[in-house]
């Protein structure tokens, strides 16, 4: 295999480099020319709806699939033509894929045996890995004798014990129930930080992505739509898709008032909102724009504030910690407007049928050309 002519991914801060990856399945293009650098030690999430290409991307890094075009490098070495078993990765699967015919200890030691380490060394590292995931004492159990959470830990220990260059997690929490999921997420994050292991994490759950990641790559239709820190993605979505996929959002009809370089001022009723100017390139002052406002950035207007719209409370949803109010208002939106009010007082204060005024609780938002 002759090495490609372009300079190698020598940057020591980059653990995984994807360069111009294209992957087709028959007629369907699953990935269009995707490039992505995963930094050493970071937890990078690939987030997107099903069919966006995130799992394909993970499978390409793992070597289960080969790209039609582009190069993949792990820890500075080109691996595009390397089979999975020579890539020095660790991976956990949606249903864990624990070997049902092996004990917990054999499962965890599998990768070390494949690397032909000597027995005492294997035993030591297996014990340490099981200690790390708090499963000491369960060495001789079979996977089917474990709970879902325990199986998840075995899968994690098995992937980590080989000290992989990169840890690949395919929807690791999707098979767990809600309570356990939260605890496992915290634990995974702690272990990941402690070992400083580069991690690529695939999920379709945006709240999971926001809470766990160092950076998120939001994907749709085989492309990365935005790459950034969780608050970037949430607060400054790059396009309409990202804005509506990550978190709940209200789309309100507003008017572009003026642009000052990189920012713009948008008018919603008699309120003024500062938005990034980039997405509004080409729109003239006075043009109609779509203002994306998060539900927690709206509040019920009191008498001395600026009311941007009026409406009638159509539904209340108690959400332990906050209340979601669905307000029927035809002034700026074609659908109901969602408000997120902290605490639970909203349940009694604005019962269904109440006429309310809506105000903006922020001066920053994003807007896109319709």
């Amino acid at each position: 295999m002759s090495k490609p002519a372009n300079p190698g991914p020598a940057d020591p801060a980059v653990a995984v480099r994807l360069d111009g990856i294209t992957k087709r399945f028959g007629e369907v293009v699953a990935l269009h020319d995707v490039s992505l650098d995963v930094r050493r030690g970071e937890l990078m999430t690939l987030l997107g709806p099903s069919g966006c290409g995130k799992t394909t991307l993970l499978n390409l890094v793992a070597g289960f699939l080969a790209p039609d075009a582009g190069e993949i490098a792990i820890a500075g070495a080109h691996v595009t033509d390397l089979p999975t078993y020579r890539r020095e990765i660790g991976m956990t699967f949606q249903n864990y894929a624990l070997f049902p015919h092996m004990s917990v200890a054999s499962n965890v030691g599998y990768g070390l045996r494949a690397r032909r380490l000597d027995k005492t060394k294997i035993a030591k590292r297996v014990a340490a890995a099981l200690d790390l995931v708090k499963l000491t004492g369960l060495e001789d159990r079979r996977p089917r004798q474990l709970s879902g959470g325990q199986q998840q830990r075995v899968a994690l220990a098995r992937a980590l014990v080989v000290r992989p260059q990169v840890l690949l997690l395919d929807e690791p929490f999707s098979a767990l129930d809600r309570n356990l999921r939260g605890a496992m997420q915290v634990e995974l994050r702690e272990i990941q930080r402690k070992l400083d292991v580069t991690t690529i994490f695939v999920t379709h759950d945006q709240s999971e992505a926001l809470s766990l990641s160092d950076r998120i790559a939001v994907m749709a239709d085989g492309r990365i739509r935005q790459l950034g820190r969780p608050d970037d993605v949430y607060r400054r979505p790059a396009d309409r898709f990202v804005a509506s996929f990550v978190g709940d959002v209200n789309v309100l009809r507003a008017r572009l008032e003026r642009r000052d370089g990189t920012t713009a001022i948008v008018a919603l009723g008699n309120a003024r909102v500062k938005v990034p100017g980039g997405p509004l390139d080409g729109a003239a002052a006075g043009a109609s724009v779509d203002l994306f406002v998060r539900p927690e950035d709206l509040r019920i207007a009191n008498n001395n504030g600026v009311t941007v719209a009026h409406g009638i409370v159509a539904a209340q949803v108690y959400q332990s910690g906050h209340v979601d109010l669905h307000v029927e208002s035809s002034e700026f939106a074609s659908t109901r407007i969602l408000l997120r009010i902290p605490g639970q007082a909203a349940m009694t204060r604005w019962p269904i049928g109440t006429r309310v005024g809506l105000a903006l609780a922020t001066e920053e938002a994003v807007a896109f050309i319709p």
Binding site: M1, D81, L82, P83, R86
Partner: protein
């Protein structure tokens, strides 16, 4: 890269092995076909002259004709009875627990491991002891027992793959059990039922060892007639009839594969 090419060698080696095994499976059929179209009475490879005379002779041979007729009678009865009995049993096997369920299952599936000559001898002696003449009834009863396991298995697999929620939905809409069975379960089971019946029919039509014991000249089925022919004559008529057999069976199974999802019925489709 070197590892990748060693994978390629492994793959090539595997493909060659599979091709060789398929060749082994096909070899007798191909050779029989060569022999069947051979013009002379003595085998020679490759044949020196070609002819259809052995087909004409085989089709005109009275024992074969009678055997074919008898075989159809036995197969028609045995396959339908086995289908009804087997499908009903597969249903209770899948749905219910009852006393002696395991015992009954073991007994009914035991012809898979009991030698056919033992079953044949058993029905022969039983008929003699009961004073029943060795007519079609004995042959049919013997065949039903022998092919039953195959029907049970294919219907049972289909039942396992059936989503019970369709039935629950029908019941929730007010359909009584008989209606659920007739309008939901049976239609969804159709491929399994047809394959089960097809298995039973082909196996019954071709059953030999037990038939050798329980048939008499009057009820002799085609395989028994062919066996007697091979023992007495060496001309390629037998090759001709074998070719007809092989072609007909392969055609039926191709049909089953393409239209009934034979792979699913045999449970050999990759789960994920």
């Amino acid at each position: 890269m070197s590892r990748l090419s060693s994978n390629r060698w492994l793959r090539l080696l595997g493909a060659l092995a599979v091709a060789a095994i398929l060749g082994f499976l096909l070899l007798p059929a191909i050779v029989a076909a060569l022999a069947a179209f051979n013009g002379r009475a003595i085998l020679s490879f490759p044949p020196e002259t070609w002819s259809l005379r052995w087909f004409a002779k085989a089709l005109a041979y009275e024992d074969f004709r009678a055997g074919f007729r008898n075989g159809l009678i036995v197969t028609a009865w045995a396959s339908v009875l086995a289908l009804v009995v087997g499908a009903a049993f597969a249903f209770v096997l899948d749905r219910y627990d009852f006393r002696f369920k395991r015992t009954l299952e073991t007994v009914l599936l035991s012809p898979l491991v009991i030698a056919h000559f033992t079953v044949g001898l058993g029905f022969l002696i039983l008929a003699a002891q009961l004073g029943v003449a060795r007519g079609f009834a004995v042959v049919i009863a013997c065949h039903v027992v022998l092919v039953l396991p195959f029907v049970v298995r294919s219907v049972y697999v289909s039942l396992r793959n059936l989503d019970r929620r369709f039935e629950l939905a029908a019941a929730s809409l007010g359909a009584p059990p008989a209606r659920v069975l007739a309008t939901i379960t049976l239609p969804l089971l159709l491929p399994g039922l047809v394959s089960g019946w097809l298995f039973a029919a082909i196996l019954s039509f071709n059953e030999f060892t037990a038939s050798l014991f329980v048939t008499v000249q009057r009820t002799q089925t085609l395989p028994v007639a062919m066996y007697n022919y091979v023992r007495e004559y060496a001309d390629p008529s037998m090759a001709a009839i074998s070719v007809i057999y092989i072609v007909a069976t392969a055609a039926l199974l191709t049909f089953a594969t393409l239209f009934l999802g034979l792979g699913k019925v045999l449970d050999v489709e990759q789960a994920r």
